[in-house]
């Protein structure tokens, strides 16, 4: 039956998933653009100017929807999760407000300056504006991850039973709770990988079409270096994160791994068909001891199984198990592909390797999917809790009617699909029509202007 709780959960999941298609690219691409502006400022090489202008065009198309869908997220805590907002407001609200004060103002104000004011300000100021956008987007991610991490591993609070809420005891402990930094780095690295693969894919398209070749080659070189470094780093980050989850949210890890019985030398399952009713797996292939080793750096360590937890406290297993494997599988493929591209680049064979270029374009959805599946396991794996161990999701929902949420959900789906269509339409139009030589005129005008100003 569709009730307010289920509809609100579907709505939050849907709006968050769509929002998060845009966020990582914003965070990662902002860093790329800041790098290009830095190079242009230091070298005055017009190629960097063109690169920055081109990637900023795509950045903006992406940013607009990230911004528009982001307002939804902030409103939804109050609209659909009022009981949650009352319970955690004393702790959760501050990071959101800090995000506004320290991050949103920064990114939005300097985006206006960089995009509209490019010809009114100096190269150094352009770099500064691009840097502030990158700092703003990354700070924004920090505050949101701090708030979300508090839901995963609450710390620095005390429960006030009379008020029925969690109250702040230490801001530092709440913000830097046990999972904040591990999860923040996982998210930012994911964002940089997303941007790298995005830049590689679009550049590959230009190279296949033999257009904007200089710009595409230079962009791709930068992106492959960043992509290689951060996909490999993400392997370590993911491992650290997994081990932390095993320590702080053992039933979540057990759900990821469909690990029912507590056992020593726990195997890492490569594939299985979880059977929740019988609390077992119907079929499994695993590597003995590897889960124990990955979680506790010891092949013989005992890993807690789902059976240790009451059935009503367990996260859904099947969905988490598969979603987790999709995320990890995509991650491993991306590491391998970046290593391959780096070798091709080093040997000077990449530009003529059309198959590699085509595959690079084709895998564009992969980092986006990996990000989404990452969030799905993070949030779904925490169920049935909205704040781990403190507040259940079913107790967090607003006092609303089914009709109200059904109306809003229908409108969200309609409007967001329109936004997606619009975004893809504009992106591909911008990429198809782009001709870097048309930009030369602007560059010369810029130089003249700077000459006049001295």
């Amino acid at each position: 039956m569709l009730d307010v709780l289920l509809l609100s959960r579907i709505q939050f999941t849907f709006t968050a998933v769509i929002h998060y298609l845009f966020v990582p690219l914003t965070i990662g691409l902002a860093v790329f653009i800041a790098y290009m502006e830095f190079k242009y400022w230091r070298t005055s090489n017009p190629l960097y100017d063109k690169m920055s202008r081109f990637w900023t065009k795509l950045f903006l198309i992406n940013f607009a929807i990230g911004l528009a869908t982001g307002i939804t997220m902030e409103f939804q805590f109050g609209t659909n999760w009022a009981a949650y907002s009352r319970y955690v407001g004393d702790i959760f609200g501050a990071p959101l407000a800090a995000e506004g004060v320290f991050a949103f103002f920064l990114e939005s104000t300097f985006i206006g300056l960089l995009v509209f004011g490019r010809n009114k300000i100096s190269k150094g100021m352009r770099f500064f504006a691009a840097l502030m956008i990158a700092v703003g987007t990354n700070l924004s991610a920090f505050w949101i991850i701090a708030a979300n991490s508090w839901q995963q591993t609450p710390a620095g609070y005390a429960i006030n039973n009379a008020m029925n809420r969690a109250e702040l005891a230490s801001f530092r402990e709440a913000v830097f709770n046990p999972s904040t930094m591990v999860r923040y780095s996982h998210v930012v690295i994911g964002a940089l990988i997303t941007a790298a693969i995005f830049v590689i894919a679009i550049s590959a398209y230009f190279l296949i079409k033999n257009k904007n070749v200089m710009l595409a080659k230079k962009s791709m070189q930068v992106a492959i270096v960043i992509g290689l470094v951060f996909t490999v780093l993400q392997g370590f980050s993911g491992h650290t994160h997994g081990a932390l989850v095993g320590e702080t949210q053992p039933e979540k890890l057990a759900a990821y791994e469909a690990h029912w019985e507590t056992q020593e030398r726990a195997p890492l399952l490569l594939f299985a068909i979880p059977d929740t009713a019988n609390e077992t797996n119907r079929f499994e292939i695993g590597i003995p001891g590897l889960l124990s080793y990955l979680t506790f750096s010891d092949f013989n360590a005992s890993v807690t199984g789902l059976q240790e937890f009451a059935a009503e406290d367990r996260p859904p297993v099947t969905g988490n198990f598969y979603a987790f494997r999709i995320m990890v599988g995509l991650g491993i493929f991306m590491i391998a592909w970046m290593i391959y591209l780096s070798f091709q680049l080093r040997k000077g064979r990449l530009w003529d390797n059309h198959l590699a270029l085509k595959v690079s374009l084709f895998i564009l959805p992969m980092p986006f999917l990996a990000n989404i599946f990452g969030w799905i396991v993070a949030e779904w794996g925490r169920q049935p809790w909205i704040v781990y161990g403190l507040l259940r999701t079913e107790d967090a929902v607003s006092h609303l009617s089914v009709a109200e949420v059904a109306i809003s959900l229908t409108l969200f789906v309609t409007i967001y699909l329109f936004l997606l269509y619009l975004m893809i339409y504009l992106m591909q139009k911008e990429v198809r029509k782009f001709d870097m030589d048309k930009d030369i005129k602007t560059v010369i005008e810029d130089d003249k202007k700077e000459g006049v100003l001295g």
Binding site: T72, G78, S85, A97, F104, G117, M132, L426
Partner: protein, 340 residues
């Protein structure tokens, strides 16, 4: 004695005022998109005039909502869930507006799509301009809350006569803010049109403001208590009135910067007047025992202190670089977007 709760009442007010003054002209221009802009070039100029700054302006709302959540979580929860469908309408409008402004120039080679962006800009501006006032009207006049502070009325009860009147007062203020900003940023026929619209809106705003005050006397007389206890506070509605009547004189003398400042002062003092009337309440309930106040709806002193430190560090920086960006974009707006 001034305590943290009062300080946060004031600071949330500052954020709301900052939003209403700054995004007010964006909303006004959008609501008057077809009245002000008669051809392609004028429409582009209008979008361009707010292009570099509208996004930063909207952040005042996002930060205001965040601050409300952090400082007065019970108000945030009650209002956002209670006004559910109205909030969704505002949300969808803001989404449309964001997309429309950002994509207006991106769709320049596809006129059909650009016209759609124009429509979204108009609707996305008009709906919030009206609903912000409606929301305030309801909070002021009193809404029906249950024991858990959940709103128990319906969406259509929110569209009561008093709330609609306050909605119109709000809308009139935003329209004036839009025309006075347009006067500053444009030239020629567009500027002329903005001047005549300003002349038209001035008396309309005056009438709606007086009407709103009279309606408050009828529907929400409690809003006058604080003023009767402290006559000095009447200075704020008085400033609204003065600012209103100076506008025609300033227009005549072509002091367009001052016209915009007068219009901004109208918005500022209108909100201050409501804030003073409400204090120390934040949401009035039909049963006064259930009013949400700055004390029973607030976060702990520790959270309010931490937030105050965040605000004291962050806001001066925000104001400094926002001022810098406005300085860079001073003067008249061209129709074509530079560099893009």
């Amino acid at each position: 004695m001034i305590d943290l709760n009062m300080i946060w009442f004031f600071l949330v007010g500052v954020l709301i005022i900052g939003y209403a003054v700054l995004d007010g002209f964006d909303l006004g221009i959008g609501s008057l998109f077809y009245v002000l802009g008669k051809n392609d070039e004028e429409k582009k100029t209008l979008v361009n005039s707010i292009g570099p700054v509208w996004d930063g302006n909207e952040v005042w709302l996002l930060t205001g909502a965040g601050a409300l959540f952090a400082a007065f979580p019970f108000v945030y929860a009650t209002v956002f869930s209670g006004f559910y469908l109205a909030m969704m309408l505002v949300l969808f409008a803001l989404i449309f507006r964001a997309i429309a402004i950002e994509y207006y120039f991106k769709t320049d080679d596809d006129k059909k799509m650009q016209r759609l962006m124009g429509k979204l800009f108009f609707i996305g501006s008009l709906v919030p301009s009206l609903l912000f006032g409606v929301a305030i009207g309801n909070v002021v006049v009193g809404i029906e809350l249950d024991a858990m502070s959940n709103y128990v009325g319906t969406f259509f009860q929110l569209l009561n006569p008093y709330a609609l009147i306050i909605g119109v007062v709000g809308l009139a203020g935003f329209l004036l803010q839009g025309t006075t900003y347009t006067i500053l940023k444009t030239e020629g026929a567009l500027q002329e049109r903005a001047i005549s619209l300003t002349t038209l809106f001035m008396p309309i705003l005056l009438i709606t403001w007086i009407g709103g005050t009279a309606a408050t006397q009828i529907y929400a007389p409690h809003m006058f208590d604080n003023f009767f206890n402290n006559w000095v506070l009447l200075i704020f509605p008085f400033i609204t009135l003065i600012s209103l009547v100076t506008i025609p004189f300033l227009l005549n003398r072509k002091r367009y910067g001052w016209v915009f400042i007068s219009s901004s002062f109208i918005i500022l003092t209108k909100i201050l007047t409501i804030a003073i009337g409400l204090f120390p309440n934040l949401v009035i309930a039909t049963n006064p025992m259930k009013n949400l106040t700055i004390y029973n709806a607030s976060s702990t002193d520790l959270t309010l202190t931490v937030m105050l430190i965040i605000a004291l560090i962050g806001m001066p920086l925000v104001i400094a670089y926002t001022a810098y960006v406005y300085y860079v974009f001073r003067g008249k707006t061209p129709a074509e977007r530079e560099g893009y």
